[in-house]
Each structure stands twice: as C-alpha cells, then as structure tokens.
Symmetry: none
DNA sequence: CATGAATGAGCGTTCATTCAT
DNA sequence: CATGAATGAACGCTCATTCAT
C-alpha cells in the first residue's frame, strides 16, 4: 500500500517530467509568457488535458520548476548565516562565504536550466507565470542582504553596508553566470568566487580604510573608476 | 501649407506620445508581453486603428520607446572610448570613466521609465516585443566590454580582463539601479559611481598585486569573498 | 455462488444508487445539462470509470431515475381508465378520478425529487439528457388526454373536449406542485385534488350547457374537481 | 451628429438581430444550454468575435431576447392592477381581466418564439443562461398573484385566495399555449380567455360558497374566468 | 485620417469517454 | 471489477490585425 501500483506512480513521474522538460526548453527559447500550453504538450508528446491533470496552469508549472532551486538556495543562505555567527568567535570570516559560494555553484550545476530561466525572468513585475521566479529573486536578494547585515553586525566587514554589498555581488554574479551560460569567454571562472568574495570583503575594506601605506606604488588606490550602467526595463505579457 | 502640415505633424506627435506613455506605464505594471493593444489604446484614449497607423505592432512601439535611450547610451560609450584613447597620452585614466558615469546617470534621469523597462526585460530571449530591449542590453554590454578592452590594451588597468570587469560593473550597476527604483535604501548613492569605478580599476588592481605590507592586521586581505549567485530550476509535480 | 453473486449484486445496487442520488441532487440544483459526470462521481464518491460501468451516459442515468416514476404514473392512468369504463355502468364518475389523484399524490410522495426534476425539465425540446423526462411529460399528457376522451365518449362529462381539459388540469397541477415544492403558501392543499376534479368535470360541464336562464344573475355554480397530478423534474446544464 | 453614421448603427442592428434570430431558433430546437456560441455565429453568419462585441455571454443574449417581453408583460399586469382598483367602484370585475388577457395574447402574437422559449425554459433552477427566463417566470407569477390579491382585497372574488388561483390560471394557460405552439388541437381557442377568467373569478366563487340549496339540480352557473398567460421575448442589444 | 466594428486563429480550460493498471 | 489517468474534441473567450465608415 505504500507503493500501491508502482506503475501508476512511475507514469505520473515520467509525464510530469516530460512536461517540465518540454516547458523549460520552450521557456528558455521563447520566454515564459510567449509559450503556450499547446507548445508544451506538443513538446512533451502528451494530450492537452494531461497538462491540466498535473498542473493547475502555467504559473503552477513554473512554480514546480523553481521550487527545488528555491529550497536549495534558501537552505544555502541559512547555513551560511549560521556559520557566519559561529565564525565571529573564531575570526574566520571567509569560510562561510566560500561555503555559500560552493553551495550556490552546486545549485547552478544541478539545475542549470532553471537557473537560466531564473536569470531570464527574475526581474520585472511579479505577474502571471513569472511570479514564482520573481519570488525566488526576492528570496535571493533577501538572503544576501541578511548575510551582509550579519557580517556587518559582527564587525566582520567594514565595507559598504549590508544591502548595497549584497546588491553588488548578486548583480555581478547573476550577470556573470548569464554570460557564462551564453557562452561568453568571461575569464578565469574558477577564480571568480574568490574574487567576488574579496571584492566585497576586501575591496570594500580597502576603500574603507584610508589606504594604509602608500610607500609603494599602489597609488592608484584612489583611482576609482566606476562604470555606470544605464537603465532599462522589461515588461512581460499575458 | 507649411502651417497645416505643422498641425498634422503636431497631431501625430501628440497621439504617438499618448500611445507611448500609456504603453510604457502598462508595460512596467504588467510586463510587455502581458499588455494588449486594447489596453494601450484604452489608456491612450485613442481608437484601436490609430495604433496601427503609428506603429507596425507592439515590437515597433517598444523599439520606439527604447531608441532614444539606445542612441544616448551608445554615444556615451563612444565618447568614453574616444576619451580613453586620448587619456592614454596624459595618464588620467579615471576621467573618461567618470564622464561615462555622469552621462549614463543623465540617461537614467532623462528616461527613467524606459530604463526601468530595460531593467525589467533586458535579460532573456530576444523574442517578440522584447527584442529591442534585449538589443539594447547587448549594446550596453558590448560598449562596456569595448571600454575595458581599450583600457586593458592601453595598460591602464591590470585587473580582470575586459569582458569580465565589464560584466561585473554592468551587473552590479543594473541591480543597484533596479533597487533604487524599487525604493530600497541602498546606501550612499552619490558615492556609488566612484565606488564602482574603483571597484573595477582598483579593487581588481589591489587583488592583482599580492598585497604589499601585511604588517598590520589587514590579514583578512586574503579573506576573499565570493558572492555566488544561484539559479536553478527543477520540475516537480503539482 | 449464489451468495457471492448476491454480494456482487448488492455492491452494484449500492453504487448505482449512490450515483443516482448524487446526480439527482446536482440536477435539481444546477439543471441536468449543467451537471458534469465529474461532479456526479465526486458526489457519489466513486471513480469516474464506474459511472460508465453502470450507465451508458448522462441520458441513461436520467432515464433510470425517471423510469420508476414513469411506470407508476402510467399504471395509475391505466387503472383510472379501466375504472372509468366500469364507472359508466354505475354512474359514479368522480370515483376513478379521485383514485387517480390519490395514486399520483402517492407518486409525488414516493419520488419527490424525481418529480421536482420532472417539473424542472419536462418542457422544452426532447434533446440530450432531457429526453427521458420529456417523454414522461408526453406520457402524462397522453394519459390525461385519454382519460378525458373516455369520459367524453361515455358521456360522463359535457365540458371542453378531452385534450383541453387534460391540458388545463395537468398545467394547473404541475405548477401547483412546483410551487408547493418551492415552499410557497399555496392554500388548502388537501382540498386541491377535489377542486381540480370538479374544475374539469363540473366547471366544464356547466359551461357546456348554454347557460339556462340568464334572467337572474345566473348564480355561479361550481363544478367539481379533478386532481391531476403529474410528476416531474428537469435540471438544466451549463 | 444625432445619427452620425447611420450605416454603423444600421449594421449594428442588423448583426444584433441576426445573432438573436439565429440563437432563438437554436435555443428552441436544442435548448438554451445545449447551444454553443459557435452554432449561433454560424447560424448568424458572423465571426465568433462579433458575438462578444454584442453580448457579454450567452446569458446576456438570452436576457436581451427576454427583456422586451418582460417589459410588456409587466406593464400588462400593472395596467390590469390599476383597472382592477378602478373597477371596484363600478363593480365590473371581468373587464380588467379580459383586458389583461388581450394584452397577453398580444404579447404571444408579437413575440411568439420568445414565448416558446419561455415556455421551454422557465421552470427549473435559475442557473446560467436560463436565469433571465426564470426571472420572467417569477415576474409572471408575482404579477398574477398580485392581481388575485387585489381582487380578493376588493371583495371582487370569493374564491381561493390569491396565490392559488394565480397559480392555477398561470399553470393552465402556459400549458395550453405550449400545446397550441406544439400544434395540438386544443379546442375552441377563442373562447379560452373567457373560460379561464370565469374559472378563477366564478368557479372559485361558487366553491367558496357552501353550495346553497342542493334541492334542485343546483343549476350550474359557470363563472367566467380567464387565465392570461404570458410569454414573450425580444432580442435587443448589449 | 480617426474610428471602432469585423474577423478568425488561437488560447486556456473543460469534459465525456476510453483504457491501462 | 474499481480506479483514475489519458485523450483530444470542443468550448467560451481574447486579441492582433484589417477595413468599412
């Protein structure tokens, strides 16, 4: 009675995954809103009615795609936050962040297409089928913000305050991953996590500290450069 | 006949702008794909047929919204590139970047809603009505990449190579602006351009140099920080 | 094997009745056409496939609901017709009618919900699932017509010819019962059968006579009574 | 500017009526619920979208069909009520009723198909597209009830109280008209209004009185009674 | 040239019916 | 034999686009 039929459950799993796989591919190719249920069931080689047996609507399907990632991401942030508090006693600040980086990289590798979907659709109004993705984006930013706040409270960093460093790192990371997926030659991928960790913790710290010993060149320290970025927009449709 | 045609042109301008304004508001609220022509003409208090007199379709309207911004952004990048080449003779590296930052900030202030639209819709597949926005995103990234390449060629920076620093700065900046529009308290807004400039030019340079004199604490230098960004997806069942 | 098959038969009966009961309630609430097979099996707590084991389709189910009532109504009319022929020898005209009234009242009390269904759905085109109900309506009217014809042939009444008095009584009776079911305060229910019997037999007869002496106010005289009672039910669909 | 286009308005009228006519025919043939929008637009030789330009949905179309009839019926009842109050001074009771009968017959002749639709669908749950018709049925019964109450209050009749005589006459009349439409040979149609009037006014009165002196044959005095029956329909526009 | 009605393909969803389990 | 998943034809409704007025 635990696995009554077996076949039934198997069928269910197979069909569900076929629909999800087909949908995900189409979403990535055409955008969530532009994909119709017909396209999805065609891609999954199922009857149209079957879609509605497994998902209430397109939004529900998207939510089902995003949910495992959301869970993993949330727990990654939670674990990092916990470690960070412990780290305050020992002074090893970087460890928790590096652990987070590893966790999140694992997420990317485990759900690469869902991550791509997220990167495609996470900005913009929380409307229709995009809503679950935008919620994930909120969770990501909130998680990152909390970490920064914790680090700041604990005096572990002296850089830009919480929200901002969170935004910078999240924004940079998301676009890096986007371009990696797009096939860009982006540079030394393996060093990036370390780079980004130091970018926040250290680069910022350097700025915060008035530049200690300028005896050596390192004069350019102040040579700040900022590349401002423009504005944009991107509504979605019904 | 000069005057009457002036009347005609005036009318045309008024109607076009009404449609654009109405569309832009709706796009921001519901997403480009979700907005129907009916909603737009209702919002603009125009007849439906008029829409098609002024725009071929929704994509065309979006392109018309984005075009002025795209032009200004492109010329900003072009000017910065030019200045950068000049700067190589004088050694003043930061100036052109700061000029670019100012130019782009001006763009944001001049077309705030179009910038928001860009931020909403610039990622993701270049499909349908979103295409002109994605093209702008490509232009932005290409412009930033070119600048980084130039700077690198000229030996002005020793940080991460071109594409990557461009991506980092663009990604960070876009999310910062996004959150600013969303009303987040993000921190010292006015200092950000400078911060970001140094983030690339300097933060990277600092990292490149093996960290000079660790006599003082500043041991955390190595405390690299990485902000990993997630993304994922995973189908499941309803 | 007698016992086991008894078990089978019992099961069958239980399921069939559950489906009928659930369907009847839904038919009354939403109309036959508006009720889906899903609603019925949900209401009966059965699997969808079971429905089709016991009924060919919704029409078949409706027929199964209506059939017992139809049988009883038909036999009531038949008995009344027989008695009426006998009554011609004795001259007691009202008796058979009163017996019919009692029989039909019994039907109403025995199958109240089917009668309601008949009352809801018996008019209108003989289409789809409503067909069995419309057939019952035809049977009712035919039965009443035949009775009137017999009475007329036998010279028992001199009122309006058969079909008309049948129609009047059936029409009046059906609406009376409808309103009774609807909870209206309709008046002296118990006297109604008698009223209706006289309505046909007597009122009609009075009219048939050319009105004897108009010198006086022609003191109204009421004719007696016939209680016709049909059965009914007739839900509609979405 | 009063009739700006003329052509537009004309087209509108033509299309609306085509849809109403096609719908009415189909409703009578298959029942309101069973008819699809596709059938209607096919019958009206219009595009599907046009249906929704003129009617919100099928219910709205039905309402538009029924509304003129409802208006006429309601005003007929209102006029009769008014006359009845006047009649109390003069003692001419039958006149108002006969006027009502004439009014309602006119309705039947003016909107014969809507009346048929009413007769088909007026019983049963007030669900979906049938709702406007059931509302008309309620209006009819209420109107008849009010008349009976008035007559009773004024002492014009001594028969069964209001609601019941209303129900009897309405029920009888509706079925008579139904059978007339069905082509039955029902009898002396022209005399029916008078019959029905007396049925209520007089037959009832006689019954109320305990039947005075049965020594004689109790010379039947037939009361005239007319049961008016409504029915109507009239397409319109949304 | 503005208007808004007409068009019909297509969308999301439902549902009667079949059939594997 | 019960179950409930699969199927796909419709259904109600929308909407981009065209075109008569």
């Amino acid at each position: 009675m635990a696995a009554p039929s077996g076949k039934r459950a198997e069928n269910r799993r197979v069909r569900t995954e076929a629909l999800q796989r087909a949908a995900l591919g189409l979403f990535l190719q055409y955008g969530v809103e532009a994909v119709t249920i017909d396209q999805i069931v065609d891609g999954a080689r199922t009857a149209k009615g079957s879609f509605y047996r497994y998902f209430r609507d397109k939004t529900d399907l998207v939510a089902s795609l995003v949910e495992p990632l959301k869970r993993d991401v949330s727990s990654s942030f939670a674990r990092c936050a916990e470690r960070l508090r412990e780290a305050s006693r020992e002074g090893n600040v970087a460890k928790p962040y590096e652990g987070l980086a590893q966790d999140l990289i694992r997420c990317v590798l485990q759900y690469p297409d869902v991550v791509r979907l997220y990167l495609h659709e996470s900005r913009g109004p929380k409307n229709g089928a995009r809503a679950p993705i935008v919620e994930l984006a909120e969770a990501v930013l909130d998680g990152a913000t909390e970490l920064s706040n914790i680090a700041h409270e604990l005096g572990l960093v002296r850089g830009l305050v919480g929200r901002l460093s969170a935004i910078v790192v999240v924004g940079a990371s998301e676009l890096i991953i986007t371009r990696l997926f797009a096939g860009d030659d982006v540079g030394p991928v393996l060093e990036m996590p370390g780079e980004l960790v130091s970018l926040v913790l250290d680069g910022v710290r350097a700025r915060a500290t008035p530049a200690p010993a300028p005896d050596k060149p390192r004069p350019a320290r102040a040579a700040k450069k900022v590349a401002k970025k423009p504005a944009k927009k991107a509504p979605r449709r019904r």
